[in-house]
Structures are given as structure tokens and as C-alpha cells.
Amino acid sequence: MNRSLRLALFVVVALVQLAVAGGAIVKSELALRTGEAFRFRIQPVDPVDAFRGRYVAIRFAVERAPATDDLEVRSGGTIYVPLDVNADGYAALGQAKTDRPRGSSYLRLRAGVVSPDEEGNRWVWVALPFRRYYMDEDRAPEAERAVWAGRRGQREASISVRVRNGVGVIEELYIDDVPIHQWLAENAQDR
């Protein structure tokens, strides 16, 4: 293969590499700057990734959305889940649909299995895309402990999320409604 063709192909590959990394930046920035804000209550766990450093792992108490009787979706298929706000101010998953909802904020998610509960209501299981809150390697373990203490009922942990066009990006991790960095600074003496 001649040199200029190889160089041209490499330029294409290089642009794809930049587009993948840059595209993720643009998508996330758009959601963070213009998306609607929601707050999710969380249950967190465990913390390290060889490439991306330390993080607070996030789990949700319930990860299923109500499904209508006519919802037909295969496991692994795409569904759109509108976001509602509960009386206590936290986000709740609305009725799952196979086409994009209009007028309200929604998340584009991968469907798990659809199954009825004891009362006969149908639910579709989903995996919310908010899995990790990356932090400074010294602070992540402290934050983890704080959030774990929350699980035992002493503290409440939650994340705020910005949602735009089906894309959700985590904005902040809260302990008792205080942003995590502020909370760690305030509680420095207790540790």
C-alpha cells in the first residue's frame, strides 16, 4: 500500500478516535448545561478501576419501570422511560415506552426482562446508566464510607442528574442533601 493512502486512512482513523472521545464530551456537556435536573436516591457500594481511578459505586434500591400490558420489548432492546418526581422530591421512573415520549424528560435505557409482580402489575427491569461517581483517589474511600453509613439509616445518599434527549449525566453526589466535597470538608473532624 502506498504511503499517502496509508496516511489518508490513518487520518480517518485518528478522526474517529477524536470523535469518540470528543463526542462523549459534547454529549455530556449538553446534558449538563441544558438538561433538566432530577435527584435520585441511591444505595452505594465498592471502588477501583485500573484505568479510570477510584469511584463511589452507585446502586439503586429498585431498578424497574412500570410497563403497560401492551409493551412488547425483548431483553436487551431499547426503551424510553419518562422521569416523574415523587412527593418527596426524588425522581421516579414513569411508564416505559418503545418510542420517544414527547414533552417530558426521559432516559433511553436497555430493557431487561418484563415480569409481573404479585399484584399482577407488569414491570420492566432496567439498568440505570448511573453506576459510578469518580473521585480523587484519597477522597473516594472516605466518601464511600460516608455513603455506606447512610445505608444503615443514619444518612441519606442521593445523586443529582441532568437529563437531555434521553441522555443522563451525573452532576453531583449528596450526603444528607450536602454536596459530597462540602460534606467531607465539614465532617473532617469526625473521622
Binding site: R6, F10, A14, V20, F51, I170
Partner: protein, 443 residues
Amino acid sequence: MGRLSIRWLLGELPKLEAEGVIDATVAERLRAHYAEKTSGSGRRLVVAIFAVFGALLIGGGVILLLAHNWEAFGRGTRATIALAPLLVSQVMVGWVLAKRCESTAWREGTATLLALTVAAAIALVDQTYHTGGDLESFLWRWSLLLAPLPWLLNSTAVAMLFLASLAWWAGAAKVEGSQILVMWPLAAAVVPHLVQVLRSGRRGLRAANLQWAIALFLCVAAGLGLDHRVPGLWIVVYVGLFALMITLGAASRRGEEGLWRRPLEVVGFTGSIVMWLILSFDEPWRHIGWKHIHTTERFHEVTSWLDLVLAIGLPLAAIVAMALLLDRGQHSLYLLWGISVPLVAVVWPLTAATDSRWIGAVSFSLLLLVVGIATIAEGVRRQNLGTVNLGMLVVAMLVMVRFFDSGFGFILKGFAFILVGTGFLVANVVLSRSLRAAEEEAK
């Protein structure tokens, strides 16, 4: 001219000189000429190795620095930091492609750096925005972005990184219960690079390194890729795979010296010994075959068929490769190790039909014993200590494994041990006698 050929030529010089084919000055000039050549190629090799390791360390350092998570910087700064090293290494690779394409050190070094800065960029974006999911998703995106690079940049180091990342992804995805069929077509991205490398120098270090990576990848991928709908097919797949590696390694061998330059054979022999030892227990043979096809779980249709294709294709390919070797006539040792293929072709269906666990276990114990002793004998015949040791290792491992095997009764175990012990003594006597005879002959 390769180093081996040069060494051969230099070895021939005294004879040529003595026979009057060339005179002393010509011989001296040839020596001086090729001495330069060999030292130069050695130096180039060292430079290339340092370039790759330098790039690995720098790239790894960048990833570690970014993993620390510099929260003090704003999102904009961190996005810039994510893209800057990627852009720099892209420009470096572009410059190398345009100006220094012939230099292995430049190509491999900058390509390695690019591969790692790609990882750093996607990792830092994930970290900054708390997106990107788990490790599996990260490794998948990295593997995809690496796929065209080995061929495009003619870089073996990146090919090795790519295969490692892909195997790691497949393992992580399998644990998560995801479908990994796409691993095979993606892995095929290294094939054009393999052709590239074999064409430019099949005895070279790059060819050896790449074959190591491919052989090890196949060992992992064959296991991960299986769907296991028909239980026990892995036995046929792995026996076939290792036999194929041994015979392909022997068939493509052109006088390479040293174990590092014969990866297919090394992985094939090691894999075979481990596999046969496992199969000499009765446990792997429990509930295998068509009578025990899983029907309750959900399986992927294509992957199930692929299982079957591998289970038939790999042993068949091994047999074809063996037939090629047979044609050349001087590879009795390799053919001996290939016996496992016809053996498994008989034992597997027999076990599946009768549900008897012992046919397989006993067959493979006998296989280990027979191949071990025959390898020792072959080593003695060729006066090759390495081969004798290989045979000894096989028999010794078999004995050790059986000693700890609780499946056999004490009486059976006792007899077997006495038999193996006697075998060792006999082998010893034969070996020492033949060595003594050879020594006397030499005198």
C-alpha cells in the same frame, strides 16, 4: 539476509577457504561485512524494544496520573487534558507514517503511545462526566478503536495490546452474561497484520511475538467463546486446538532456534499436557454429550452452532496439518503428540453414548503414559536431552496427579505405581545403554 543464514555462512567460510573456493582475503572481507550487518540489526532491535517499552511506560504513566482524578481542575480543563495527549501522539504517528515509515523503532514506539493515549482519553472523559459504565464497556470501546491500528501502522506491539484488551473484554462480558460472538470477527483484525509480518520476516522477533499473542489469545478465546449448550464439547475443541498448534508450529518451522521463536509449539505442548492431565480425571467426562443438552437455559443460536463448527473444524484441521507433516516424513515426535485427536474422536462419542466416565479418564491416562514414554524414546534415539526431559515431565506429572487422585482404589493405585516405576527403571536402563553405545561409537 536473516541472522541464522549469516551465522550459517560464517560457519561455512573455513571450509570454503580450506577447499580453495575463496581465498583468505575474500573470507576476511565477508566476515567483516557480515559482522557489521549482524551488529547493526542487533542494535536496531534493541532500539525498537526500548522504544516500545518507553512508550508503554509513558502511556501507562499518563493513565495513572489521570486516574488520580484532578477534581481541582474544571470540566473544560479536564476535557482538554483528555484530548491533548491523544492529539500529540496522533501527530507523531502521522509524522512517522510520512517520514520514518521504514523504522521499526519509530513505528512501534509511536503506535504503542497512541494506543495508550486512546485509552487515556476515553478513560478521562468517562471519569470527568461519571459516564461510560463498567470496565467491560471501557475495554470494548478501546478494543474497537485499536482494531485498525496493527495493520495500518504495521505495529506488533499494538496488535498484542489489542488482543489482550479484547480477551479481557470477552472475559468481563462473559462474567456479566453478555453475548461475545462479535469477538471473533473483531479478532480477525490482526490477520492482515500477521500476513504483513510473516511476509517481511517470518523468523524475526516480531513474528515470534505476534504468534505468542495469537496463540495465547486463542487459548483464552476458545474457552470464552463456547456456549456450552452441548456439554463437554470443550474437550474436543481444546484437544484439537493444541494438536493443531503443535503440528502447525512443526510444519512452519524453518530451523528457528530457541523456545521463544517457536510459540505455537511451546503453547501447543504445554496446553496438551495440562489438558490431558485434566482429562485423565473422571470429572470432566461426567454428563457430556447429546444426552445432556441444556434445554432450560436460553442460548444463542449462532454461538451454539459455532461450538459445533469449532469442535469439528479444529480436530479436522489438526489432522490435515498432520497429513502434511507425514508427507515430509521427519516429524515422528509431533505426529505422536497428535494421536490425541483420533483418540478424542473415538472416546468422546463413546462416552456420550454410554455415559461412562471411566473410558475417557483411563484413555487419557494411558495416552499420557504412552506419549511420555515414546517421547523419552524419541529423545534417546535423537540424543536430544530436551526431548527426553519433555517425556520425563509428562510421565512424572501423570504419576503425581494419580497419587492425589482419590477416584482410584488403593490396590489399583498401587499396581499402577509399580508399573510406572518399572517403566522408569526400564527406560533408564535403555537410555544409559544407548548413550554408552553412542559414546563408544563416537570413539
